[in-house]
């Protein structure tokens, strides 16, 4: 690979700084994306945790949604964590909120419960040599996948990580731990 990979981190709302730090520790270049022009020249995009309604509103109001959808269709890798999973999903049961509709998954919001139910646990991820620490914060899970979507991790019967070609998503927050294995996996996709 020639030069550092440049990964955009959608910086509308949420834990984007933590993703930037994880990317830099992996040796990639991280840039903040708040404007359409900033989507040009990136090798991949992370949609961070935060509130999916806040992020969705700003994606539409500041005209980023269409370009992200176009870039994903031409193969740009996109990785969504927690709220990012909601923003990427084609289906959100019981909600008509805005999503980019990128990925063949149905994702249920706050599916593990309110904040007092938030938790951390070790997870097995398909193809990973060691378990990863999953921090789940008012987290969603995937209740259905279709098409080419492949399930990568299941916790207590719930799908918490999945991949569809250039699209990757997880319910939990690898950016809040020191384990870089999931970020490295995404960088290998980019």
């Amino acid at each position: 690979m020639a030069g550092k990979k440049v990964i955009g981190v959608l910086a509308l709302q949420g834990a984007f700084v933590e993703h930037e730090a994880a990317l830099r520790r992996c040796g990639a270049k991280a840039i903040r994306v708040r404007r359409k022009e900033e989507l040009e020249g990136i090798d991949g995009l992370i949609i961070p945790g935060g509130e999916s309604t806040s992020i969705g509103r700003l994606l539409v109001a500041y005209d980023l949604a269409e370009t992200i959808v176009e870039r994903s269709q031409t193969g740009m890798p996109i990785f969504g964590t927690c709220a990012g999973m909601i923003v990427m999903a084609k289906e959100i049961p019981g909600s008509d909120q805005f999503t980019l509709g990128l990925m063949d998954i149905s994702a249920r919001r706050n599916a593990f419960g309110r904040q007092v139910e938030s938790f951390e646990a070790d997870l097995d991820v398909k193809g990973f040599p060691r378990p990863v620490r999953g921090i789940f914060i008012r987290a969603p899970y995937i209740d259905r996948v279709w098409g080419e979507t492949e399930v990568l991790s299941v916790y207590e019967g719930k799908v918490v990580m999945a991949r569809e070609r250039n699209l990757l998503t997880c319910s939990f927050h690898p950016e809040l731990t020191t384990d870089l294995s999931i970020h490295k996996y995404f960088l290998d996709m980019a």
Binding site: G14, R57, A61, L176
Partner: protein
């Protein structure tokens, strides 16, 4: 084995709120307006701080019915306030299932010496601070998020600015000190030594730090972000203005695009009247909520 209520899980929710706006609401309708405008969380209250200030008397935790109706109305996190030191109000809020508790100087303190031992709770807490020592004492008690106190219910940002600058100045000062001066620094700040060492090493607070107390315009919100806030609480500033929907949207956008004066110029237009502000100098010391807390 799943572990709940770890400090990573508590402060993690605050990290997810960053770059966002937390709005005070008193009804389910206001909560929906806030959510639709892009708020990252709401604070469920019976009265906004400006009305608490006007009403006088003892301000207490809201009626659980008010809080539950707001929790039912929105999908974003719901916070609620308890009085400083009133750990039973906090237990009630935790039992209701709120996502965050604000041990707040906006309400009348229940204890004039001790704050709540927040480590005993599963729900995370946010607390106000005017300086670094106060912030680190609250974190030492278990707070998972800090906000400036500012001067609530005034629509005047001057105190929030003072407190944010004070905290940031003290962090920069700590960072410049050699290790052998940190114990004396901890003594001067009246802060736990281990947290002082951590701040000196990392150059930032160990938890998320929002601004609060007087933010009334998109420009105020952007100013606080430029001064180092991780996000903004807006109390009376939205629903005491003439056009809450437009103002809420504009303050959300200003918190994201704080670094872009052209966007700020656009979103600051045609918002109607901001809330009427109060000059802090006209407040007697007993009327200053920021002086509550120890």
């Amino acid at each position: 084995m799943a572990q709940k209520a770890t400090f990573a899980v508590k402060k993690g929710l605050a990290q997810m709120l960053k770059g966002g706006v937390i709005m005070d609401v008193t009804t389910p309708e206001q909560a929906k307006i806030a959510e639709e405008a892009g708020a990252c969380a709401v604070m469920a209250l019976e009265r906004v701080p400006a009305d608490i200030r006007a009403a006088g008397g003892v301000a207490r935790m809201a009626d659980p019915t008010v809080i539950l109706r707001i929790m039912d109305a929105v999908t974003i996190p719901v916070m609620a306030k308890c009085r400083i030191g009133h750990f039973v109000e906090a237990q009630i809020l935790e039992a209701l299932g709120v996502d965050f508790i604000d041990e707040s100087e906006v309400l009348t303190p229940a204890d004039e010496k001790y704050h709540i031992n927040k480590k005993e709770f599963n729900v995370p807490f946010v607390c106000g601070a005017r300086n670094l020592g106060e912030a680190l004492r609250r974190i030492g008690e278990g707070a998972a998020m800090i906000r400036t106190k500012g001067e609530p219910g005034t629509g005047n940002v001057v105190e929030a600015v003072r407190h944010m600058r004070q905290i940031m100045d003290e962090i920069r000062w700590l960072k410049s000190l050699p290790k052998d001066e940190l114990m004396t620094a901890a003594k001067e700040l009246q802060a736990p030594y281990d947290l002082v060492v951590e701040v000196a090493r990392t150059g930032r607070l160990p938890v998320v730090n929002f601004s609060a107390g007087g933010i009334a315009t998109p420009a105020d919100a952007a100013l606080m972000m430029k001064l180092g806030a991780d996000g903004n609480f807006v109390g009376s500033g939205i629903f005491k203005s003439s056009d809450p929907i437009a103002r809420a949207r504009a303050i959300v956008a200003a918190t994201t695009y704080y670094d872009d004066p052209k966007v700020l110029a656009e979103i600051s237009r045609d918002l109607g009247e901001a809330m009427t502000g109060i000059d802090i100098k006209t407040l007697a010391s007993e009327e200053r909520m920021q002086e509550r807390g120890w």
